[in-house]
């Protein structure tokens, strides 16, 4: 069902992660993504797995909720894994047929890329599931505020983003409702070939666009009625402030990244990898 999309959906719970400053979570997600790309070899991935596991555990969000986000990238995942598996050249060739071949390097890269993608989605799901859209954009605005000096409309961008995020669940619900209404009128969204399916979407898309536009106009009017005029001189009701747990979280994530770098590049830099 359409409701099952979790990206950008907040999961209410009381956990350490939920209480962290959104800036920390944003930075940590970015650092985690970087760490996935510096990771090398099984030890690096093991550390990433343990780290992600602990974070997911701390978030108190049921694991099933996060894996739902993965469903949307299944196709992408399959394609990348298959391409890497069959097309990469390597030292040892296990099987080959025409230009297709399975090599040691192919297997390694396919597994690595697969894990990277899955962790990428899981990691960012943890952030969006534990942070309300409002907090998220507040954090983003604050993090990017130095860019205001070079006339980047940071406030406007973050406002647009928070509105967009806020409307995702609303529009999903609306889609669900319109879909049901049209099914009740005998519409068929499932059978038929691609063209028939695309045509069948019209009774869904027209009302959806119409209602999205209507909502946008209502919102614009409501904002204007409250004298909204952009970020100039605007203050926050709850300004973001770092607390001790945020500093701890920063320390943890930087130590984690450092460990990943040492594991990944230790051999090149120092000629040895610690602990192995």
């Amino acid at each position: 069902m359409i409701r099952d999309i979790t990206l950008g959906q907040y999961y209410p719970a009381k956990s350490v992660l939920h209480e962290l400053d959104p800036r920390v979570k944003l930075a940590a997600t970015l650092i985690f993504v970087v760490s996935l790309f510096v990771a090398k070899g099984p030890v690096g991935y093991a550390l990433a797995t343990v780290f992600l596991g602990i974070v997911i555990r701390l978030s108190k969000v049921p694991f099933r909720f996060m894996t739902k986000g993965l469903k949307s990238i299944v196709m992408l995942l399959m394609i990348t894994v298959v391409f890497n598996l069959f097309l990469l050249d390597g030292d040892v060739v296990f099987w080959h047929f025409g230009f297709l071949r399975i090599t040691d390097r192919g297997i390694r890269t396919a597994v690595m890329v697969g894990i990277r993608l899955i962790y990428l989605i899981l990691g960012s799901s943890v952030m969006t599931l534990t942070t309300t859209p409002n907090d998220l954009t507040d954090g983003l605005e604050k993090l990017l505020s130095p860019l205001k000096k070079i006339h980047v409309p940071v406030h406007d961008m973050s406002m647009m983003m928070s509105i967009a995020l806020r409307f995702i669940p609303i529009l999903l619900e609306e889609t669900d409702k319109i879909m049901k209404a049209q099914i009740a009128r005998g519409a068929d969204f499932e059978s038929g070939n691609l063209i028939q399916k695309a045509k069948a979407m019209i009774p869904l898309l027209v009302p959806l666009f119409f209602s999205a536009l209507r909502r946008a106009m209502d919102l614009a009017l409501a904002m204007e009625a409250r004298c909204y005029h952009g970020g100039e001189g605007r203050t926050k009701m709850k300004p973001l402030k770092y607390e001790s747990k945020d500093r701890t979280a920063y320390a943890v994530i930087w130590i984690y990244l450092a460990a990943m770098i040492v594991i990944g590049y230790g051999r090149q830099i120092y000629g040895w990898i610690p602990f192995i």
Binding site: R3, Y11, A13, P62, R64, F65, E174, K177, I178, K180, A181, Q182, I183, A184, R185, G186, A187, D188, I202, P203, V206, P207, F210, S211
Partner: protein
């Protein structure tokens, strides 16, 4: 010919933190040609229940029979069920999408496999039935007023010639006049075509005047089921579950408490007036 709901339970997001038991062991039988009011507070499960009746939602537990056949049975023609049990959702005007009114109303019959000509005939009949004149046939549905849009949307379901018409809060967001017009139209339809009508509402006043039978839902269960008079006798319990009997019920109860020997079963203003007149008349004779 009837709808039979047997031990139906439904759970949203089963196994999730958001798990909601929307329906709990609901049993109902709705015979042909009845005008039923389905009443309940927001979140009482009434909208969930009606979506089961035409197979849009599948019960987590229990069975539903339409005209004696199990709708969850193998090879049960769901599309046919949806044409026989017409469901008009809340704010149905948001489902309009075609370039003109007639085409939009044709959408249902066309999906059922009728030819363009037959569909247009059915659409025109349905449009006249909800009081939309020929002059609107070629106008864009997006240019109509709120009440007109809603009628067109109702016509869109009527054009499929349903045996059972279910309307979810058809008067929500309409002004008193629009509300009365829609309700009168529905009760006219019911008389004219002899179909079963299930009217979902949270307003007792709205439905008391029209329906033969009232079903009150609370927290996913059927709380009361009977004629409006029978149900309104439980006006204190109704209050407990966030509903209220029509104002006249309170008036009559209070009159009775003050010593007037009036018939407290009056459910409409007219009946109440008659009851009071009868009591006053009776007194004068004494």
């Amino acid at each position: 010919m009837s709808i039979k709901v047997k031990n139906v339970s439904y759970t949203y997001s089963e196994g999730m933190a958001y798990e909601v038991h929307a329906l709990k062991d609901v049993n109902l039988e709705i015979p042909d040609g009845q005008f039923v009011g389905l009443i309940g507070h927001t979140g009482s499960g009434k909208s969930t229940l009606i979506q089961h009746l035409n197979g849009l939602l599948r019960a987590t537990e229990g069975k539903i029979y339409f005209n004696g056949k199990d709708i969850y049975g193998d090879k049960y023609p769901m599309r046919e069920l949806r044409s026989k049990v017409g469901l008009v959702f809340q704010y149905p005007e948001y489902q309009l999408f075609e370039t003109d009114v007639l085409k939009d109303v044709c959408f249902g019959p066309r999906n059922l496999g009728y030819s363009q000509k037959e569909a247009e005939e059915k659409a025109k009949r349905a449009l006249r039935m909800v009081g939309m004149g020929e002059e609107y046939d070629s106008s864009s549905p997006f240019e109509l007023s709120g009440g007109q849009k809603r009628r067109v949307a109702i016509a869109g379901v009527l054009a499929m010639d349903p045996e059972v018409l279910i309307l979810d809060e058809p008067t929500a967001g309409l002004d008193p006049r629009g509300r009365d017009e829609i309700l009168d139209q529905i009760s006219y339809l019911k008389r004219e075509r002899g179909i079963t009508v299930i009217l979902v509402s949270h307003s007792m006043e709205d439905v008391a005047r029209y329906v033969d039978r009232l079903i009150v839902m609370n927290q996913g269960q059927v709380r009361f089921d009977g004629t409006p008079k029978e149900v309104f006798r439980h006006y204190r319990e109704l209050e407990e579950i966030g509903l209220a009997a029509p104002q006249v019920t309170y008036l009559m109860q209070e009159l009775k408490e003050k010593g007037a020997r009036v018939d407290t079963d009056a459910t409409t203003v007219e009946e109440a007036a008659d009851a009071i007149a009868a009591w006053l008349g009776g007194q004068e004779q004494l």
